[in-house]
Symmetry: C2
Subunit: 279 residues, 2 copies
């Protein structure tokens, strides 16, 4: 039997980890890698992430499954170029924003697409950062599923389930607002934290005084600026709203410290503790 | 030979972990626990953190070494009550702020004291959260060491080194400014993040969408409000300055997103990436 051809556009952390995870579930996949970064192509081949490297769109469109694991602006651009898909091809994008991507898919290929957001990642990038268990026991949000074909819906569900993911369906518009608060704004915050500390502190003090709290809060400030520039642009309105809400809370804290309202501050921190019941 | 008597005032995460770590290095310690929380006393006895529980200040002052591992306001209060110390007694406080504590020590007992800030912890509290390796390979900042006695300096250095810590000497005033930026403000930020998300999001969405980034950034928002109320009060001025600097950076980010200055935003995130070279 011929192997199932899987195209992976973007051989970084997400695409690379996906190949490793799928290989663990079956030997019947044949991976065709696409990446404009030649170093990443070589590394991916060497690491066994891709069986073959191609830069031909025709070759890509021969695949049974195509994953788009590149920055979100790149996803929108390549979606337009995938205009020769068979009815059975399934294209799954892994972008962190969903509304603009979902809206950008042309009518005649809409059923081919499943728009997914796997809630996992690290601050690292490139094929060498790929982890076989990156997706295991994590959530993948599948958006606007009523617009995907029956075959595509079933296949995406099977694939993500096979690598240990829990599926959460969501409307793309709602996804983007939730993601702004729970993922995108915290990234903006981490970048702001890193920049304010780098401006005020010298390296020896940072090394000496950084406990687990600061390390955790600044970790995602090491994330790829180009990737996050795209996400911030695509989710601009929601991001601005979430940054505003954060600023309001921080201002409250500042005022209570300024006015020595210690009892109110204690209560405010107690409210935040409620997160413990959820996560 | 009689065992070395070690008093531990505060049988929580820090005090409990210290007892476990010291026990690992020698069998010659006898631990006397002090805590106004009776449940914590019972738990500490059961977990082998304390050999004996006492509430007598006379019994405490018989100890060769006394650790103060309670919230910072409590440290200042008990320092005043330790007025019957022998010249050989060493009192080490583990408070997260240092200037007010250092200044609060009376002249006649000043040489007995070593003011320390171990750069470690978790968001958990109570004796059951104690970890034998909490201090291992971590930094402890020792402040205003010129005010401690020779015996006390040498003993504290020996003790912290024996449990695997790296000692960094620092002026207490400088410590507090560094700690505001690298530890205290990030805690305020995490509380603000948790509160803004809890206000805007429901539990199922938080559970579905929380990836590693949000989990890491909100972890310390689960920290004990009473402990952090004290720290924020004692380091109020530095904290306000550090919150202000963070607000400036976040405002920059907001403005760049608002005005779609994507290239500048990308550069700003690239600046934050430089943290990678340090941590």
């Amino acid at each position: 039997m011929a192997k199932t051809k899987v195209g992976i556009v973007g051989l970084g952390l997400m695409g690379g980890s996906l190949s490793l995870a799928l290989q663990e579930t079956s030997k019947d996949y044949y991976f065709i890698g696409f990446d404009h970064n030649q170093k990443h192509c070589t590394e991916a081949k060497k690491l066994g992430i891709a069986d073959e490297i191609s830069d031909s769109l025709d070759r890509l469109q021969e695949c049974d499954i195509i994953f788009l694991s590149i920055p979100v602006d790149g996803i929108i651009s390549i979606i337009q170029r995938l205009d020769n898909l068979s009815p059975h091809t399934t294209v799954i994008d892994l972008g962190s924003t969903k509304e603009k991507i979902s809206l950008s898919i042309p009518e005649h290929t809409r059923a081919n697409f499943v728009t997914a957001h796997p809630m996992t990642g690290t601050e690292k990038f490139g094929p060498t950062s790929a982890l076989q268990n990156l997706y295991k026991n994590k959530v993948v949000v599948l958006c606007d599923m009523d617009k995907s074909g029956e075959h595509q819906k079933a296949l995406a569900t099977k694939l993500f389930t096979s690598i240990g993911m829990k599926i959460v369906p969501m409307n793309a518009k709602e996804h983007d607002r939730h993601a702004a608060f729970i993922s995108h704004m915290p990234h903006a915050l981490s970048y702001a934290l890193a920049n304010s500390v780098l401006e005020q502190e010298d390296a020896p003090s940072i090394i000496a005084l950084a406990g687990g709290g600061f390390r955790d809060m600044s970790r995602i400030a090491k994330s790829n600026p180009s990737m996050w520039e795209d996400i911030f642009r695509q989710n601009r309105t929601n991001l601005l709203e979430s940054i505003h809400c954060l600023q309001v809370e921080l201002k409250k804290c500042e005022k209570m410290v300024e006015n020595s309202e210690w009892e109110n501050l204690n209560e405010w921190m107690g409210e935040a503790n409620k997160l413990h019941d959820i996560l």
